[in-house]
């Protein structure tokens, strides 16, 4: 019964009986057809029938798509647009890649020391091995007993200076970063380096970093260029201009012609030339914009878009889309300025960050592109790169305020935030909220919820952490509380 009704509904709309039946058999009804993708429908009916179907149902958007595709693929002189196109087509790599060898090989002397270390089962970090090798340079006869003696002496000193096990490094790190935090200002200054860009600094920035915010309030990129271009001011300027995002309303006047139900665009010659844009580029970008349905015509030096929409409101909406059409540049990059470093090279600083689109640009030195958007780094370059960025940004923020914090504390914080493979905030939405102890979470924030839920389920708290042991009054499992004593009869005691 229902099937017949659905078929009739389609027939009433002007679709042939055969096509209607085929569609309903395929599981479609009038509602579903309005949103069904074109290529899925063609599984059930022929392409021509599908087109007729859509026309009859009045589904405009397919028409808009088709008109764009039907036109011949235009030539894009603009390098950014060219690259944008290639990226859209390629989801897979076009060229194979090799794994770079980033591990530094030890020098001969270092290797000598390392071999001895292995023999003596001594562990020393590479910086000390290098230092030792440095001192051994120039020594005429280096014998194995000599190195052995050196190693033992160095190891003794190293052990003396090593941190004790069960040291409460977490709380020490928190204090070491928190205390200077009280000395930081709440205000943000202008970025000392580049006069035109202002970046969040001080306490607000540190809070952003530690909270693992998706988008910093002032995202910024630092882009170096390939060595052959980097000293050429004009070339660098050109690239900077091509990166800045330009929308239609930046270079043209867009008006609604209500009487004729159309949108008239008057390009501004001067603005267009400063952005290196041609009339054709404007046209092509408009055609690329899939959300604009309707016909586009050129009348002299203006572009006219006639819309099939009937209401004024819909026309307004279309005008907004037209105004905001991206003509040139990289998404989210609002401004690009140039600065010359004291090495002589020119560097581009951008307001706004888009790592993914920048990295594939041919003229830039992709290996050195830097952004302050940590979550973006994690998504594009991986968690290890994000960890390094975390350390760099936190250090920078503290140093700018004149505060010195040992890097190890910052490294610990970064390690904790990047431990799970993505960047987690410190607060209750991240690490602190993931603790297994109910009491610890209850003591941190939103007390009643945690306790109530745990009580209802019947959860168990194993009292293995710090906060919960304090609550119940037992010795904490850190520092002295981690020591396990036993009786040592005289024979077992070592001198």
């Amino acid at each position: 019964m229902a099937r017949k009704d659905t078929v009739n509904a389609l027939i009433r709309r002007g679709i042939s009986a055969k096509v209607s039946e085929a569609l309903v058999d395929g599981g479609y009804n009038l509602q579903k057809l309005k949103t069904a993708p074109f290529n899925v429908i063609t599984r059930f009916i022929s392409v021509e029938d599908a087109e007729e179907l859509l026309r009859k149902l009045g589904i405009r958007k397919f028409m808009a798509e088709e008109t764009a595709e039907a036109k011949v693929e235009p030539e894009f002189p603009d390098l950014v647009a060219r690259m944008r196109d290639a990226k859209k087509k390629a989801k897979k790599r076009t060229k194979p890649i090799t794994i770079p060898d980033k591990v530094q090989k030890p020098t001969k002397l270092e290797q000598l020391v390392l071999d001895q270390m292995k023999e003596e089962s001594v562990f020393l970090p590479m910086s000390i091995v290098s230092g030792l090798a440095q001192r051994l340079r120039g020594v005429k006869r280096i014998t194995r007993p000599m190195v052995k003696k050196l190693l033992h002496r160095v190891n003794e000193k190293f052990a003396e200076h090593s941190i004790d096990a069960h040291e409460s490094i977490g709380i020490v790190a928190a204090q070491s970063v928190g205390e200077p935090g009280t000395q930081m200002t709440m205000r943000t200054f202008h970025y000392a380096g580049v006069a035109e860009l202002s970046v969040t600094q001080g306490l607000p920035r540190l809070i952003e970093i530690v909270d693992a915010r998706r988008e910093p309030s002032t995202p910024m990129m630092e882009i170096h260029l390939k060595s052959r271009i980097t000293k050429n001011v004009e070339e660098v300027k050109r690239i900077a201009r091509s990166i800045e995002l330009t929308r239609l309303h930046h270079v043209a006047d867009v008006e609604i012609d209500i009487n004729n139900m159309r949108i008239v665009i008057h390009p501004d010659r001067d603005k267009m030339s400063t952005k290196d844009l041609t009339f054709d580029t404007l046209k092509d970008s408009l055609m690329e914009e899939r959300r604009i349905s309707g016909d586009m015509e050129v009348e002299g030096k203006t572009i006219v878009i006639t819309s099939p929409e009937s209401t004024h409101k819909k026309l307004q909406q279309i005008m907004e889309i037209v105004r905001n059409t991206k003509i040139k540049g990289i998404d989210r990059v609002d401004r690009a300025v140039i600065k010359q470093l004291n090495t002589g090279e020119f560097v581009i600083f951008t307001e706004g960050s888009n790592l993914e689109d920048i990295l594939d640009m041919p003229e830039i030195d992709a290996q050195r592109v830097y952004t302050n958007n940590i979550v973006e780094v994690c998504n594009v370059l991986g968690v290890e790169a994000a960890r390094n960025t975390l350390i760099k940004e936190a250090r920078k923020t503290l140093e700018e305020q004149g505060l010195t914090v040992d890097v190890r504390h910052i490294m610990l914080i970064s390690d904790m935030m990047s431990n799970d493979g993505d960047i987690k905030a410190i607060g209750r939405h991240g690490i602190s909220g993931r603790k297994s102890s109910i009491l610890a979470r209850a003591a941190f924030e939103i007390t009643s919820t945690h306790l109530l839920r745990a009580g209802i389920i019947g959860e168990v708290d194993t009292l293995s952490g710090v906060a919960e042991n304090i609550i119940v009054g037992q010795p904490v499992t850190v520092g002295t509380g981690a020591v396990e004593l036993e009786y040592a009869p005289r024979s077992a005691r070592k001198r």
């Binding site: 052990a159 004790d164 096990a165 069960h166 040291e167 293995s464 520092g479 002295t480 981690a482 020591v483 396990e484 004593l485 036993e486 009786y487 040592a488 009869p489 005289r490 077992a492 005691r493 070592k494 001198r495």
Partner: protein, 60 residues
């Protein structure tokens, strides 16, 4: 064994508690020092305390 500062503190503390509760003192200094902690510390320095630390490797 080279003790960490936590281990040292724990050992001296435990020994001081024992001394304070009347345990025989293992070092000869009864007229000079009377504070249990001081006595325990002296015992520790003389390496005569029969307490050691069991260190666990691996998971808790």
């Amino acid at each position: 064994m080279k003790y960490t500062r936590f281990e040292k503190a724990r050992i001296i503390g435990a020994r001081a508690l024992q001394i304070s509760m009347g345990a025989p003192v293992l070092v000869d200094a009864s007229d000079k020092i009377i504070d249990p902690v001081e006595i325990a510390t002296t015992e520790y320095d003389e390496k005569v305390i029969p307490i050691t630390v069991h260190r666990r490797t691996g998971a808790a």
